[in-house]
């Protein structure tokens, strides 16, 4: 699927030079969104604000001013990003009608460089899910096969990019929610080092693993979006210092780079077509000069169990704020305040949010805290140590993103544990805080397969460089 959009840097350069109008780019995006509405990737379009903003950018150019590195470039934000004045639902009934009174830092930084938010994308409600079927509104369809899911939870964002609705989209990745939909749709999905991009103004899921990142067609585009968004933010005290050098300055060479293939991910538990595709991709990296070796991280099989304790615990705490009193849905006919809380939450939360709140409440409750939560956080330490040791031996780790390609809509909805197992290869990057990326590796039965590359914390520039080189070799 060739794109109607130029690379982001070229698009912005043409807007700055007056060769392209921001207003036309916005219309092009809105037109494509309308034409491809049957995929249900979008929750709402921001036509009025996007057109107004495009007009301002075109005026700036006409007046000889520079609107920035993303001048006039339309983008789509997952609907858990607060965009000033726009509805922000996180695809949940409890936040239906909530209008953002302020704006996320990520969107602020993109707008400061001239980018224009044109729409809000669908997601699993509160980003809880791996298929976008948990949206309280509607499921999103995979651009390659409308009977299949696009992955999740940033499924709307990934589908929107591959449907050409905008040249890039924003997603969030708490346990794979950027990389999985990238893998299932053939997009590039980048999850940065924990804390590199501010989460201020993004609906919180699990605060110790939540990350923000881009979904794009190319690694080069992802690097530019990351470069604009990253760095310390006084509004998010978990943010870290960014590299002084731009994340767009990439050394795209695999020669002599040590790449470790993760043994625990290349088992018979993954679909044969995915395994073959990833093996073939890795072989191409070897031919291109990479020093490929197998590497074992013995505690990896336990990562998903750690994740499904730690994350529901944090979810149950983060979702406690939705009580129907200060914003969001409030139930009618409650008898007292507590009844109002319970009824509002009963009506406003979908099944998966409730399920995770229940698990989280259980593992944090008195008598179980040590056995579950503390134990999980200690195994997390073991996992971190094993990754640190691995990165003493290799520059990058490689493997599949998921054990399968995009599955049929409805196929896994009745079995929550099976749905959770889809995240088995993505959660470890979140638990350890390392950067990871999904790039297209090829196809299996005509469905996209992603190759996952990971690097040590704060090695985002090196990882993007390797991904850029790999992208070229695999194209």
């Amino acid at each position: 699927m060739a794109s109607q959009w130029l690379p982001l840097s070229e698009l912005a350069a043409k807007v700055r030079a007056g060769e392209l109008k921001a207003a036309d780019l916005v219309e092009q995006a809105l037109k494509t969104i309308a034409e491809k509405s049957e995929y249900q990737a979008i929750i709402a379009t921001l036509e009025e604000s996007a057109r107004a903003r495009a007009g301002q950018i075109d005026e700036q150019v006409a007046a000889g001013k520079n609107p920035g590195r993303l001048a006039g470039v339309p983008f789509i934000a997952k609907d858990n990003f607060l965009v000033f004045g726009a509805d922000t639902t996180a695809a949940s009934n409890i936040l239906k009608g909530f209008k953002a009174p302020y704006q996320s830092t990520a969107v602020n930084r993109l707008e400061a460089e001239g980018a224009i938010c044109v729409a809000k994308a669908n997601l699993d409600a509160f980003a809880h899910g791996s298929s976008t079927e948990n949206s309280d509104f509607f499921p999103t369809k995979n651009p390659h096969d409308a009977s299949r899911v696009p992955g999740g939870s940033s499924g709307g964002s990934a589908a929107a990019v591959m449907l050409d609705m905008a040249p890039f989209a924003l997603g969030t990745d708490t346990g794979g929610s950027i990389r999985l939909p990238a893998s299932f749709t053939g997009a590039v999905g980048y999850k940065p080092t924990y804390g590199l991009v501010s989460r201020s103004g993004v609906v919180a899921m699990a605060s110790s693993t939540d990350c923000i990142g881009p979904l794009t067609r190319t690694v080069e585009d992802a690097a530019l979006v990351l470069d604009v968004m990253s760095g310390r933010d006084p509004l998010d005290s978990t943010t870290i210092e960014r590299d002084e050098a731009p994340y767009t300055e990439l050394s795209a060479d695999l020669k002599g780079k040590k790449i470790g293939i993760i043994k625990e991910y290349m088992t018979d538990g993954i679909e044969p077509g995915v395994k073959t595709c990833v093996e073939a991709a890795v072989e191409k990296l070897r031919v291109a000069g990479a020093d490929v070796q197998e590497i074992s991280l013995p505690s990896l099989p336990a990562a998903l169990a750690v994740y499904y304790i730690v994350v529901p615990a944090e979810i149950s705490s983060n979702l406690a704020r939705y009580d129907g009193q200060r914003y969001g849905h409030r139930a009618e006919g409650a008898t007292n305040l507590e009844d109002s809380y319970s009824k509002s939450r009963e009506q406003g939360f979908g099944k998966e949010a409730k399920r995770r709140i229940m698990i989280g409440t259980y593992v944090l409750s008195s008598g179980y805290y040590d056995a579950y939560y503390k134990k999980a956080q200690t195994v997390r330490t073991k996992l971190i140590n094993e990754f640190n040791e691995a990165f003493q031996k290799v520059d990058f780790l490689a493997g599949p993103v998921a054990p399968m390609t995009a599955f049929k809509i409805g196929e896994n909805v009745d079995d929550p544990l099976k749905m959770y197992l889809i995240d088995i290869m993505t959660v470890s990057a979140n638990l350890t805080g390392i950067p990871a990326v999904s790039i297209p590796a090829g196809t299996s039965n005509d469905l996209p397969v992603g190759l996952q590359l990971m690097a040590a914390q704060r090695q985002d520039r090196a990882l993007l460089g390797a991904a850029r080189a790999a992208e070229e070799v695999l194209a």
Binding site: K99, Y102, S237, E338, L417
Partner: protein, 97 residues
């Protein structure tokens, strides 16, 4: 092997301020047991001498200057999202009764 009684589920729901239907109670009783059984594999992981991790990048006690910041919105802007407002106050149901 993990198992949860109906009372366990009701107690959790109360702690989490969730009302559940009869169907949901039965469903979560089964599903939570499945999930808890899956995570019990952590009992087999040897963590002798290791401390728990809750912050992965090593930041400690990040603070800012104690000064007024302009967040770009007024209290009245925030009240626009409140379901019930009276005299610029958030109106809620009585606490008892």
């Amino acid at each position: 092997m993990a198992s949860l009684t109906r009372d366990d589920i009701l107690k959790l729901a109360k702690l989490a301020r969730l009302k559940l239907t009869e169907d949901e109670i039965a469903e979560y009783q089964r599903e939570l047991a499945d999930i808890l059984q899956y995570v019990e594999q952590l009992n087999d992981v040897d963590v002798l001498g290791l401390e728990p991790t809750s912050q992965v990048t090593g930041l400690v006690n990040v603070s800012r200057k104690d000064e007024e910041i302009d967040y770009g919105y007024a209290p009245l802007d925030l009240l626009k999202n409140v379901p019930e407002v009276e005299d610029n106050l958030i109106k809620v149901k009585r606490m008892i009764g």
